[in-house]
Symmetry: C2
Subunit: 471 residues, 2 copies
């Protein structure tokens, strides 16, 4: 059993009329599919919602292909859902009003690398691992790492971030410009390859995080960074979440340019110990990475070690070679699967609040207390340098009472995050699941303004309708 679709979803299914289907079949040939398996594959994401398939899936290979779909969709007022690799977490890609899914995975070309400018332009279907593979010889890299090997289009659409954001920022800071097909089927370009601009409204940032509801991004120009001369990693264990978080706060306040600063709670460490036959102390742990010159990373690691010690940090280990670093990060990389195995048959539902860092310990500790009281197993990883953490519940998919309990816990977490001047989503986005949270967070006035923008850019409500804001 899956979680039911939330009750706030509005709008009936809008069928694809026969002339439109014929036109799609004519243009796309066997790149247009109505096969059940293909539709079902595209009617899901990594959320716990039931499969909600589109009526048609088309596989686009160019911006022009996308224009063809959008012009037809505009003419017939049919919903369109852009789809990357389907790794979103809040129901973003479910076809709640039917329509046409645009699969962008075949738009997988790195269009242009300009190493001297530290920029690269890629098609929307390129994944982040592919970018880094293809530009490796340039001595540059693209740092944003949300965990999944997501597409750059999907990462742009959800304003993704992840482990490196504390140093390098999120997709918001790392996209220079876009090629977008509008709801009316026009191709526009936003931004330039210049590093900054004060030219008019920031359309780039408007599309980043719009979750496919305002247009389809087909090409994205990214900022790149020089591969650091030296990288070192460190782990350290703490007597409490509080101690680990206080260490983090001081690292940030001292301006240590830490590249990654991740928290694992004792549950996550315990799961990894069992899964990977490790013998880490089953206590909260920080995993850190430092980028810079040889001397610089050494200095950073020493500063951080001093801070950690002040807060009772022990078992400080650090590593500079890639092999040793990978070993230290094992716990982080294996946490998800390790946690799933602690409760056979369970599903994982992740939360994503982000708060000002001074409220982080409070936010985590109260969430833990509530989960413990409810008796729902959970584990935590957090991009704590940014005040963002994921408490993930391990729930029995056959127990509706548990699903309801998790939803209640999740709401309590969001309410607390908002009280603490934070946000309901640091990086996963709104999708279907968080639409009521968005209203609570931004207020009805700001959401009305978002709706006005949605109506102005997509007057027929064909772009991924029923997500982010209900119009």
């Amino acid at each position: 059993m899956n979680a039911p679709l939330p009750s706030h979803i509005l709008g009936a299914v809008r069928p694809v009329p026969a002339p439109m289907l014929q036109a799609l079949q004519q243009h796309f040939g066997d790149r247009c599919s109505t096969a059940t398996a293909v539709r079902e594959q595209h009617g899901r994401d990594e959320s716990t919602y039931p499969i909600t398939p589109p009526e048609v899936v088309v596989f686009c290979e160019s911006t022009d292909d996308v224009v063809v779909v959008l012009k037809l969709a505009d003419e017939h007022a049919v919903p369109v859902i852009p789809f990357g690799v389907g790794s979103s977490l809040e129901g973003h890609t479910l076809a709640v009003q039917g329509g046409v899914c645009i699969d962008l995975a075949r738009m997988n070309q790195v269009v242009r690398l300009n190493p001297e400018d530290l920029t690269v332009t890629v098609q929307a279907g390129v994944t982040r691992e592919q970018v880094n593979r293809e530009i490796r010889d340039s001595g540059l890299f693209f740092p944003i790492d949300p965990g999944a090997n997501a597409s750059i289009g999907g990462m742009s659409a959800t304003r993704a971030s992840g482990t490196n954001a504390v140093r390098y920022g999120t997709m918001r800071e790392n996209v220079l410009g876009l090629t977008v097909v509008t709801a009316g089927g026009e191709v526009i370009r936003t931004g330039t390859r210049a590093k900054k601009s004060a030219a008019g409204y920031d359309l780039t940032r408007l599309f980043i995080g719009s979750e496919g509801t305002l247009g389809v991004m087909t090409e994205i120009t990214l900022k790149l960074y020089p591969l650091p001369e030296a990288v070192s990693a460190a782990i350290c264990q703490f007597p409490s979440i509080d101690a680990a978080v206080r260490t983090t706060i001081q690292i940030i306040q001292m301006g240590v340019p830490i590249a990654r600063c991740e928290l694992l709670d004792a549950n996550a460490v315990r799961a990894v110990n069992t899964h990977s036959h490790l013998s880490l102390q089953e206590a909260p742990m920080l995993l850190m990475e430092f980028h810079g010159s040889e001397a610089g990373v050494k200095e950073q690691a020493e500063t951080v070690q001093d801070i950690a010690r002040e807060f009772g940090g022990t078992d400080f280990q650090w590593a500079t070679t890639p092999e040793e670093r990978t070993k230290l990060w094992t716990a982080r990389h294996k946490a998800y699967f390790a946690a799933l195995q602690t409760r056979p048959g369970c599903r994982c539902q992740s939360t994503d609040t982000c708060v000002p860092i001074s409220h982080l310990a409070e936010s985590i500790n109260e969430s833990i207390a509530e989960a413990e009281t409810a008796g729902i197993p959970y584990w935590i990883v957090g991009h704590v340098g940014d005040g963002n953490f994921h408490l993930s519940y391990l729930l029995d998919p056959n127990d509706p009472a548990e699903a309801a309990a998790v939803e209640r816990l999740s709401t309590l977490m969001v309410e607390r995050a908002l009280r603490l001047e934070g946000t309901c989503t640091g990086e996963h986005g709104i999708g279907l699941h968080k639409m009521p949270y968005l209203v609570e967070e931004a207020g009805a006035g700001a959401v009305d303004l978002m709706k006005n923008i949605k109506r102005a850019l997509d007057p027929k409500n064909i772009m991924n309708p029923g997500k982010v804001v209900a119009v």
Copy 2:
């Protein structure tokens, strides 16, 4: 004589009807003025346009005051122009359709400092120097420095940046959230105090850079940074612009976290020598600043010195004490007034293109050649680490032929920047002057989309009408 108002300005003056004026007078008392001197003071900025005064000026002291004005303006469809310190450069604050100027200078309170979160919330009229003065004891600072002691509201409205942007980003990256009064007089809040968020459309970034055309920002929450443990400054002289720019490119490509990287051309250096009785070599010069740990800034300065030497850099001087640093930066700080004095009675008109850094030398060199051919005196400073430079013409305000020549040169520069995949404005904004350039840069389709947004958020076109996009 001043430059004439450009011909693309549309829309007749919309008078303030008597009932509205009475309501304003009643609410604001002597904070509502129709005195010629006050109106003229508010009908200008630092551009060369003629004074274009509003009909009424009101001095707001709170968000509620702004709401009063906007509700009346909405009811009577009267233009409203937000005004900070009037340091904009492209005619942003001219009352081209008359109306009410909202002076925000009295909204000068630092509302809340949260040092543990590295955030501060200020009213829109607070200047950047005031912010740094008031938070000094916290060990934090706000890095964005556009030169003028602009208001934070004005800097947000124009997406300002300046000398520190190469390390710390622009207003786009350093505003967490806003309080905005919409065109209809509603108060909304955008963003939170969390460092990142994926919650809905990025309204914060939509208002940043909107130049008062979508609403009035009344409170702004800023990111702060720890004062660096060590700061060092350096200057270095080069045989050519090319050599200075190539040095810059390599600094950036090597990932040196340089905090400031400014170019002065030989004309600027010559002017400063005369003005301040210095004896710097009259050659292109880089001025740099490094922030970090003691060891870190030393290492950065050494790396940069090695790079500079490769490109023929000479006279490398560096300084670590505040007094020595100030001395080294004299040339940069005095350049504007020094340049003005090289041509008595002249006015200065600045350009602001920004290009991918690999095209920077080409962009500067061709602009110089054109200025030399035209025989118009000029000088250059550049935030070259970002690919942004200001070639400023020194023009005789009594010679219309010279004004026309400068406009022609400016257009050539913009056309070149766009050809080189750059932007017509790195940091000054569009205002009146660059509206045709914006269409050229973004394309009619993207500008149409901006117009749709403008109409959606300001259906009566009362927010600073006639700027950015013509609706």
